[in-house]
């Protein structure tokens, strides 16, 4: 480490140095709020977690609704990209149970409808068509309806929600929860045409709409058409997502006792768990990849195992075995994963014998595809070599300027929260387009930075750091849930446990804001910081500076906050990586050169609702 007596600093100061961090860039502090940054819709997570801690469930719900549109649905089913990103995993093992806290807000909310836009909404004279009624289209509807657009939504199903209704099983997402949140949107005066399959985009375009949004998802399940026996056993082989839709709409009410589910993703998990509820006794998931590398979320696998489902990994399907015209099982080849030096995996056959597994029915859950048979290829809408529409990643506009895409139909199957995020972006573009503005000239996100100081060394957020380990969400008894496919498995946190879980949140939006003019370089902040984030040192280029810190900053995904040069010639460098947002640096600073300031970030939305919301009486 460099020596820093006044006259010596200049002698050893390297010529190339890091520039002072531009904290005016909205993305700098946004990135510090790891969960929010990782959330495709950038939900202000710590903001609603604090509201839950204060039992202000209605406001917590509204903070969510504003960003992610389906808090009740997502609080149960979200893929939770926020959780692996949670700062907590960098100082201990488990992230905050962000997703399950969201559900607490939804379960305990009061009258939220009064805080939503109220109809009848004055018309702006423009008309939009939404094709498909999944989360992407519904988000576009929610963002554009308050602006006065007349919105027509078409879906071939009998109700809105898309795959949230047809695919996600009721034991994970009760229908009432979905209905309530879909209706919040439809009640904004959306013109719905259910049970209507759109056969021609050209016809729609000729219908006098100012813009069209395509949110038709990735509705085609992959098959194994070439596998021997596929045709002969067709009666007892089903495409997973079609079968799940059949169950959801009550066309399918039972399944045989011995079931094989092919595939290792979440669809496979939903298929096997649904099978258990419809009469499947020996349900086996057979997957090519090793167990640890299956696509399904760890918690989905856990739940499946808990329901006595056998997961057989490293098995590649060879054939459907048919006897007397009836499916009796499947043959598999055993493989083992081999990795090359780049970590790329290959599944190589072991020399063992092929394996026969008995089955009366097989569900194929090996992936989904997009399919656009209803879009004409001569309407100025280009498709790429894989049959996917050419869609701009920022604007979600297709090569036909009137047509926008979002959700699974834009870039292939993802998840609900991604569909919502796409919906917000597409709605902004549609609004700009309809206003005759440049769709690339997008308004900046709404940000706000406010000191949390409440007198000397008091903060308006709870800055203490709880060491509690993640609390577990209780589940209903297996004996009950397996009997009734609609019985929700997870029970949700009770309020007392939820409170304890909220305290695990590190309030990463309480930013450490540094004002160099005030710093007298007493080192107090550096000495007190429990996680050694702060170092006063001679500036250098980033790789060198990272090494020169009290503890080298080796997590390159996390930024350094670098000050302007201080009086002694040094700079203050803060590694954002494991900051606990405990506020001790600011408490021990004699001159308030550090301050804890709450950073609010709201992505650009067409309706630009203003948050924070006004306080609501409980």
């Amino acid at each position: 480490m460099p020596f820093f007596i006044k006259n010596q600093v200049s002698d050893i100061k390297p010529i190339l140095t890091m520039k002072p961090t531009n904290t005016k860039d909205p993305e700098y502090y946004h990135k510090v709020v790891d969960c929010q940054y990782a959330c495709p819709a950038h939900t202000p997570v710590p903001e609603y977690i604090r509201l839950i801690a204060a039992e202000r469930f209605t406001e917590a719900y509204m903070v969510n609704w504003e960003s992610n549109v389906f808090p009740g649905v997502l609080g149960r089913t979200c893929d939770r990209p926020c959780e692996p990103a949670c700062r907590r995993v960098r100082v201990e093992e488990e992230p905050v149970a962000i997703c399950r806290l969201k559900r607490v807000a939804a379960d305990n909310k009061g009258d939220v409808k009064q805080h939503m836009p109220q109809g009848p909404l004055p018309s702006n004279g423009k008309k939009i068509a939404l094709i498909g009624g999944g989360p992407a289209s519904l988000t576009v509807a929610r963002d554009l309806a308050p602006l006065g657009y007349e919105i027509h939504l078409f879906d071939e199903q009998k109700a809105g929600g898309g795959m949230m209704r047809s695919q996600i099983p009721s034991f994970r997402l009760p229908e009432e929860v979905l209905n309530e949140e879909v209706n919040f949107i439809l009640d904004l005066g959306i013109h719905t045409q259910f049970l209507t399959y759109v056969k021609s985009l050209k016809d729609v375009l000729e219908g006098g709409y100012d813009a069209v949004f395509v949110g038709t998802g990735a509705p085609k399940g992959r098959d194994l058409p070439k596998l021997p026996g596929r045709k002969e056993a067709d009666k007892n082989i089903h495409i997973g997502i079609e079968w799940l839709a059949g169950v959801a709409f009550e066309h399918t009410k039972s399944i045989a006792q011995k079931v094989i589910v092919l595939g290792g993703g979440n669809t496979a998990m939903d298929c096997c768990r649904t099978s258990r509820r419809l009469g499947g006794k020996e349900v086996k998931v057979v997957v090519r990849s090793p167990f640890d590398e299956m696509k399904a979320s760890p918690w989905e696998k856990e739940d499946a195992l808990h329901e006595d489902i056998n997961i057989i990994d490293n098995h590649v399907p060879l054939s459907f075995e048919v006897k007397d015209g009836k499916l009796i099982g499947m043959k598999f080849q055993k493989v083992k994963p081999v990795y090359d030096e780049n970590g790329k995996r290959q599944l190589l056959p072991t020399e063992e014998d092929d394996v026969f597994i008995e089955a009366d029915e097989v569900l194929i859950a090996i992936g989904q595809e997009n399919s656009f048979p209803w879009i004409e290829r001569n309407i100025g809408l280009e498709f790429d070599q894989w049959g996917m529409p050419v869609v701009d990643e920022t604007t979600f506009q297709s090569t036909n300027p009137k047509v926008f895409f979002g959700g699974d139909s834009a870039f292939g199957p993802k998840n609900v929260i991604t569909a919502v995020a796409h919906g917000h972006h597409a709605a902004v573009s549609i609004h700009l387009f309809c206003e005759g503005l440049d769709v690339y000239d997008r308004p900046s996100p709404y940000t706000n930075l406010v000191s949390q100081k409440m007198g000397i060394h008091e903060w308006s957020y709870d800055s203490s750091v709880a060491i509690d380990q993640r609390y577990i969400v209780p589940q209903a008894k297996k004996s009950q849930t397996l009997k009734d496919r609609k019985k929700e498995v997870e029970l949700g946190f009770d309020i007392a446990t939820a409170y304890k879980e909220t305290q695990r949140c590190l309030n990463c939006d309480a930013q450490t804001v540094f004002t160099e003019d005030r710093c007298i370089e007493c080192d107090a902040c550096m000495d007190v910081c429990p996680t050694s984030c702060i170092t006063f040192t001679v500036n250098a280029e980033e790789p060198e500076l990272r090494q020169n810190l009290l503890v080298p900053a080796e997590n390159l995904t996390q930024d350094l906050l670098v000050s302007k040069e201080l009086k002694t010639g040094r700079v203050m460098v803060k590694d954002e990586d494991v900051c606990l947002h405990c506020g001790l640096c600011a408490e021990r600073c004699p001159t308030s050169a550090w301050d804890m300031q709450k950073f609010l970030y709201n992505t650009t939305k067409a309706n630009q609702m203003i948050t924070p919301l006004p306080l609501i009486e409980k």
């Binding site: 480490m1 460099p2 020596f3 820093f4 007596i5 006044k6 960098r90 100082v91 201990e92 000397i456 060394h457 008091e458 800055s463 203490s464 750091v465 060491i467 007298i520 370089e521 007493c522 080192d523 107090a524 000495d527 007190v528 429990p530 996680t531 050694s532 984030c533 503890v551 080298p552 080796e554 009086k567 002694t568 494991v578 606990l580 405990c582 506020g583 001790l584 408490e587 021990r588 600073c589 004699p590 001159t591």
Partner: protein
């Protein structure tokens, strides 16, 4: 206000030879004013003890009264401690050392505690060359009692309220050298680069090691016109040398400029490697040190770094020829050798 430090630490915190991280050397969260220099000195002691892999239970911290004397609560929370009476830390330290010579003793005091009420004790503990590290956290005022000028406040220094100190300052480092202290260093709380190796060297010195550390009182003595403020000290600091404390006899790798490099071997085989910045100064020659200090004073400079070291003189245990086993480890058999032995001793006096 936070009164507890979060328990999480950086997951990549380095470990020392004992397998401990710095956390095992920390104390409770300081209740001193935010920005107090004393806290930086505490942090330097933590760092030095961590890096030296000192076993925490083999350290005792003894202090008097004052903000400075409160600091032992804020470092080495796993070590022994005794917060004694104003100015009386040396007596307690002497007693403790007599009972158990095998411990590292940190005496922590302030300028008020040492240069006023405790002056008599300070002088005598130097005279006895007690094996201890004696740190004065020197802020030129009585911080704890709201910032009155202390005996180390410089003549002409202006207090926060505007009054000018009419009295001459007691220069503790010069005094210690005059009295024959065997290790004397001066430093600044805001310069851990210098302070940490000094503390390490002091811990390895067998005898009385005195560290006078200028430590700004942010609340009562950090105003313009004060000579103990962060700004003033940074403007007027002059280091005698840059130094490294070398725990084991190394091969000589660095080539210092001829005549500028000095090494001092300590009793236990450790080394202090000095790269001299000041000329006409030899850390093993008392006269040259006294001169250097006088010169600096006339130029309004604060001379920091290792000033003087003498490894020849015996410490108190050596002078008194105490037995090699610590007194508190002697058993009844050794302490009461029996009537026959007593008779023999008595016979010796006849």
């Amino acid at each position: 206000m936070s009164y507890l430090k979060p328990l999480f630490r950086h997951p990549k915190l380095p470990k020392n030879k004992l397998g401990y991280t710095q956390k095992e050397y920390e104390g409770s969260l300081s209740t001193l004013c935010a920005g107090c220099g004393h806290d930086s000195i505490s942090a330097a002691i933590v760092q030095a003890c961590f890096e030296m892999s000192v076993e925490p239970h083999k350290v005792a911290k003894i202090s008097g009264i004052g903000c400075s004397s409160k600091t032992p609560t804020y470092f080495l929370g796993n070590s022994h401690g005794f917060n004694s009476v104003h100015g009386r830390m040396p007596s307690v330290a002497t007693g403790a050392s007599m009972a158990n010579k095998d411990m590292v003793y940190f005496g922590v005091s302030g300028d008020g505690d040492s240069a006023s009420i405790g002056m008599g004790q300070f002088v005598h503990v130097i005279r006895r060359n007690l094996n201890m590290v004696y740190i004065v956290m020197n802020n030129g005022c009585y911080g704890l009692t709201k910032g009155q000028d202390s005996a180390t406040a410089d003549q002409g220094s202006r207090s926060k309220a505007g009054s000018v100190n009419p009295f001459q300052a007691i220069d503790l480092a010069s005094l210690a050298i005059e009295l024959g202290a065997t290790f004397v260093a001066q430093s600044f709380s805001g310069d851990k680069q210098q302070l940490v190796p000094l503390i390490k060297a002091a811990m390895h010195h067998k005898g009385f090691a005195f560290l006078n550390v200028i430590s700004p009182c942010v609340t009562f003595n950090n105003n313009p016109g004060s000579t103990k403020s962060y700004d003033y000290v940074r403007e007027h600091i002059e280091a005698t040398s840059t130094l490294d404390f070398v725990p084991e006899m190394p091969e000589i790798k660095t080539n210092y400029e001829k005549g500028k490099s000095t090494r001092v071997a300590m009793h236990d085989g450790t080394l202090i490697q000095l790269n001299k910045l000041a000329t006409d100064w030899n850390p093993e020659d008392r006269v040259s040190v006294a001169n250097a200090l006088q010169h600096a004073r006339t130029k309004n400079e604060i001379l920091t770094g290792l000033l003087y070291v003498n490894t020849e003189w015996k410490d108190l245990h050596g002078t008194l020829s105490t037995c090699s086993t610590p007194l508190n480890k002697l058993k009844e058999a050794e302490l009461c050798p029996g009537t026959e032995a007593l008779k023999e001793i008595n016979a010796g006096y006849r």
